[in-house]
Amino acid sequence: MCGIAGFISHKYSKENGSRIKRAMVLQNERGNGLGAGYGAYGIFPVYKDFYAFQVMADSNWAIDEVTLYLKEHFWVAHKEEISIWDKVIQDHPQFMRYFLQPKLSSEDLNPDDFVIEKVMHINTAIDGAFVLSSGKNMGVFKGVGTPRDIYEFFRLDEYQGYCWIGHNRFPTNTPGWWGGAHPFNLLNWSIVHNGEISSYGINRRYLESNHYLCTLQTDTEVAAYLLDLLVRRHGLSIYDAITVLAPPYWSTIERETNLEARNRIIALKVTYESAMLNGPFAILAGFDKGIFSITDNTKLRPMVVGNADGYTYFASEVSALYEMEENLAGVTTPRAGQPVIVYYHGEG
């Protein structure tokens, strides 16, 4: 069991994290204090064209290694410690933030692939260091603690964002550690996830043959990497990518009478069989153009959606929607497997 909340301002109106905190604190019982986290978009306007690396490390040595490595491969526009309030959680790793431009050589295909490769290197080759997030104008803040602890620890009152997502965790299959909390991030993708990905074994093998390394000891990271592979590398639309992750049943496809549509969905499903997610899940994902939610085909995990003027809200529980906005225009419960995609104004 885990708790999820998130909201998006369709027109990029910014605010601090207090509303997402309230929704997460309300859903405190859905976690056990072993992991919570937040993702925020639009928080680094000054450096919005730079990759914002938020790095966690368990020693000075690891921080130094990461800094050296990043300086070798990037122009570092700015480097700062991520400000924390360590009275809340005394036993914590160190956090550093870097704003970067890749030093691309002629062989490098594109800056995003370059960044992914460097993130994978830090996560696997530098002992004790992990990249919490690597997107532009966004950041992920997460760790071992309750939603209130993590919010206060990272001083999220001080950030202004137009899309926020939050998560608290009841870890069962993997240890509760700072890197293992949600959201999971790669470039501008950040994923919060309630459930368990039973298809993890094959998703991971599929990603590994596409040069993504799964290092975070938990199943959710595959969703972030799959989205990057499908949307950015293979050029699928968000809707097609979601269809890959949570495709319709074969029995539904057989009832499709439009032959062209039917063949297309069969092609999508057989091409990306190894990317399909199975098991109970509700996923909320932020990306550069908006936010979306999906659930498994049996809807074994909850997801509710609320609308109000210029905003869309997502949460595990209806009460959390009202905690973010008292005057909701409507609350809907998406059917099993039915995605909800919200684009920023002008992006859809």
């Binding site: 094959i202 599929y206 050029g235 049943y249 092609a267 057989v270 091409t271 049996t298």
Partner: protein, 504 residues
Amino acid sequence: MTVSVSKPGARATFRPLFDLNLCDGCGQCAIECTFNEIKMVPQGDKKIPVANLLACGACHRCEVMCPRNAIRIEENPLATRTHGIWTPHHIQRVHLQAASGSVALTGFGAETDLPVLWDKMLFNACQVTNPSIDPQREPMETITYLGRKPEKLSDVEDFSALVKNLIPLQIPIVFAPMSYGSINLNLQKAIARVAKKLGLLWYTGEGGLHKDLYPYADCAILQVASGRFGVSPEYLKLGRGYQIKIGQGAKPGIGGHLPGEKVLEGISETRMIPLYSDAISPAPQHDIYSIEDLRLLIYAIKEANDYKPVCVKIAAVHNVAAIASGIVRAGADMVYIDGYRGGTGAAPNIIRDHVGIPIEIALAVVDQRLREERIRNQASLIVAGGFRNSADVMKAIALGADAVAIGTPVLIACGCHGCQRCSSGKCPWGLTTNEPSISERLDVDWAEERITNLITGWHHEMQEIMGLNGIYDIGSFRGNRLILRGIDLNEKELSILGIKYAGE
């Protein structure tokens, strides 16, 4: 083979015991024994059965058919002095070959007691954190598409052309190639009917396609093997796909031979060879001496039939991963791998039991190799060789197989008890014989029902195994090696299989 009683090694390993209190002397057993090893002899006012203790192979036909349940097959004790090396098995083999001077033939699959790694792998199951799914209440889908798939959707120009050349299976089980000749038309027809009815595939083997089975060609993979039997322009248009046979698990690297006395009318016509002439399948295909030659044949067949999928069948041998990779790059849409324990109608004993590697290992290394080379999408993997039940099948799917081919379980479903005398032409169950008086024993409708039942039962079990792992679509089971844990396996075996040890 003639062996006289006075010579050593002439005793059967099995014998029927007749309970004369129950026997009413009807003589059915003597009729059933196609090896003529049971004689009815007068005793008092009735006749009683007497078995020749030279040749019982434990086919159990007499026992099953006895209307009075008066027969029991048991081992015929051979009181050989205990010896760790020279077991009765080996002593008997030497005696038999000393008598015959020939290669000792056998049927069925390898009988050695090498470990079966399927038995050392266990499934995971959901508890608490992820709910299992009840296949009685929720959809539980096993549909599988065989054939070449694109790496990414944008590679597809024409969706209908892509789908047309994929083969959908309702259940990822196919019927292994058993040629008309090695089995009879009744059995092949029953298999073909089940394939069509359940949405599966059947493989013809190398004996061609009998005219009666043309209605089942759309769910058949027709074989092109080294003897080219039955390959005609028409044949190259009929099938759902084609299979080039390079090797067979029971006898990798050697050919086949259907003796002339078995080439009766239907077989002669279907194979397009003269009546009573030996049908010899050479060891290599005489136009394939390299991977380039294989590529030529693959594309020759594709050109002849509008690019229907082509499958290449090989035996699992030491270098199978590299060979499979080459086959995929040569243009095959399916790679069919037949493991060490694969069955046969006739193979030299010494080759059946000593050549090749088990399918578990071959599958694990091939799937991994194709993924590392990023060509796994280009061909489906069909594996065969000693699959005994639905758990074996699902373990293979979890290791990475697209589908599993079964042959021996089909024979067993239709009565076979594993006497291993398939090549004798006297199969008492009417399966691996074309002698009309015996093959008529197999009723097509009955065989169809038995095979249907077997597959339906396995399918239910496969759905249970998926559901208890919280997986509703077999695509998420396929290649998902985290579902498996090893027990009683060493580090090397675990690493080759790509699975963790129980408790990890």
